[in-house]
Amino acid sequence: MIAKLKANYGSGLEPLTFAAQNYMVVDRSLIPEILQILRNEEQFDYCVDITAVHYPAREKQFDIVWVLYSFPRNERIRVKTQILDGASLPSSVPIWPTANWLEREVYDMFGIKFDGHPDLKRILLPDGWKGYPLRKDYGILQQDHEWVQINLGIESGQ
Amino acid sequence: MGQIIQYVKSYLTSDQTPGAAGNMFWVLVYILLVFAGLSVAVIAMNWLERKILAHMQVRLGPMRVGPHGLLQPIADAIKLLLKEDILPAEADGLIFWTAPFLVVLAAFTVFVVVPFGPTHAITDMNIGILFMLGVSSLSVLGIVMAGWASNSHYPLIGALRSSAQMVSYEVAMGLAVVSAILMTSLNAEGTGTLSMIGIVQAQQVQHEWFIFKFFPLGLVAFFIFAVAMVAETNRAPFDLAEAESELTAGFHTEYSGFRWSLFFLAEYSAMIAVSSIAVTLWLGGWLRPFPNVLSGATWDEIFSFFPGASFLFLAAMCFYNTARMPKHPLFRIQTIGLAAFGAVLGLIGLVLFIPGVRVRIQDIFWFSAKVAGFMYLYIWYRGTFPRYRFDQLMRMGWKVLLPLGLGVLILTASVALLQQKIWRP
């Protein structure tokens, strides 16, 4: 399968393996197409997880990872792509409805926008919160002092 | 002065209820007695429910306040009375405040006609059963008022549910009651009665409790009533109005302290009230068991020992548990308390053996024992059944109990008519 995809897309797609687990790094521009193909033609009908990793030192700061599983093939694959800070991705809610909350969480934690998402807003943090906690430049003790002061009435903001 | 004593004394020789005799002094005494007895019953019920439920659920229940938690209800009452009485913002103050009183009023007023014995009732009305149903139906109003006045969604939904439930089950209940009333007319004159005392006397005259009358018609009617009465009092498995897992506490969510305890009081006295109706209508009221099989003065004598004996049995249980108490000094007060409680129970038991008391008290005893059986059923249901859903509840009320009630009513009427024609050609 991976070979076939590699043959079709060439340099835009790089298959890799670590600890006996397959994943592929895909160019941002190919993402909608690849996900669609994986879902419809390669039978990856179950989107296990969508998450992101932040690399502040890189130019393309974010890795987005889709963890997919196929019931008919009993096989897992990870799709990975890199995007710039502030860039957006097409939402995969039309492909896998489960992506709804997973993408919201990525948005909540990293500030990555998904185009076409039906209801993209914060999910775990309160709506007015400033900052995206899972970015590397967000300190572990850091809080949105202003939000805490206004909404919880705690003077110190902690 | 002498006149007053004469007035007070005059009732003692009459064989009527104080209300019927028109003796205001004894009416007041009876009202106080019934009120006090009811309050004690509610307190006892509170303790018993927690204890019995606990034992059904492999735990001990209250054990700390007093020996075996005997003082727990009193502690609870004090706690409730000392709590802050909260009036929610934007609630309708007047209605919010009057609702619990209306509920309590309705729940207690019905006891005016409950016959604890042939003369042990505050009064005997010729529309007794109608009065009970009517006044107890007024408590719905209190619930609706409480739910609406709280200005909050959970109480509102709770009130809607409970009023819909009570109004629908009243219909099935009424049909069951009517079929029992029909049975009272099977006498020489062919006249029935609505009076609570008259209904029991009809069972006495016919030598048959109505639950066994026209078997299985009486039983079915009793069954309909027994289901409807649980629904009517909003108890498990029909406790949707106060389902804590759905509506937190239903119509009394916003109530606290004293007013909440009024709802509590009303709920339990309503349970006792409907059980009293069931006992009066189908289980022979104050009549002792087996009046036909085991008849005669000797058996009367033997049965009159039951009240005292049961109290002595309870006292014996207390003493047995006193002996089983841990011997640690910390438990000394508890041990003494339990022994004292046993002594009080034993003393009551001995008093009940005095011949004069023995004969008078047994009506009340048998009536209370039957009601207590229903109270146990209430607790048992709660320990066993999951909760019905609202549509299922309504379906059962309208599509099962109502047609069943109508069928029983028609059959009872036809059988009664046939019997009367044959009996009195």
Binding site: - | A20, G22, D92, I95, M125, N126, I127, L130, F131, L133, G134, V135, S137, L138, V140, L141, V144, M145, G147, W148, L156, A159, L160, S163, A164, M166, V167, E170, T191, G192, L194
Partner: protein
């Protein structure tokens, strides 16, 4: 048994009923109006009791106060109270209202002044305590059987109509 049908009780209950009736039409909050109506109905039940008609009194409490008014409240509670509070209370047909009120008042005064001739005193014997309910039943299912059945039929039509209106498809 000492009579309770004294003028004192009559005036007390009538007063309560009148106050209740006035509150029904003057209160802005429909729930308050409904509750005032219940007070009026309970007063009416008491007056039935004074007239030695306990069965009618009991039925009045069960059906009106305990049944119908609960359903009334049920509906009112679901309606948005805030909107009802803002609406103008008395509608503009006050001319018709005054005419109707005058006509009704005139009728009442006429009955009151000439009543002695229309209703001879103590024409019907006071029904004794014990068989009151039986008497009602005999009248209802004997003499007035036809009227009773007509009334039931009317109610049945009303029920069917309500079901048809509430349910889009049956």
């Amino acid at each position: 048994m000492a009579p309770v049908a004294t003028p004192f009780f009559f005036y007390l209950l009538s007063g309560i009923m009148l106050i209740g009736g006035i509150l029904v039409i003057t209160r802005k909050n429909p729930v308050h109006s409904a509750l005032a109506l219940i007070v009026t109905l309970l007063g009416q039940a008491s007056i039935y009791l004074m007239l030695y008609a306990p069965f009618v009194a009991g039925v009045q409490i069960i059906l009106y106060a305990g049944g119908i008014m609960v359903l009334f409240l049920f509906v009112i509670m679901l309606v948005s109270i805030d909107r009802a509070m803002k609406e103008r209370q008395f509608n503009s047909q006050w001319v018709v209202g005054i005419i109707a009120a005058t006509a009704l008042g005139g009728l009442l005064i006429a009955v009151f002044t000439k009543g002695k001739n229309i209703f001879p005193e103590h024409m019907l014997p006071v029904v004794t305590d014990s068989n009151n309910t039986q008497e009602v039943a005999k009248l209802l299912y004997g003499q007035y059987m036809f009227a009773f059945e007509i009334a039931s039929l009317l109610l049945l039509v009303a029920i069917i109509g309500a079901v048809v209106m509430a349910k889009k498809r049956i």
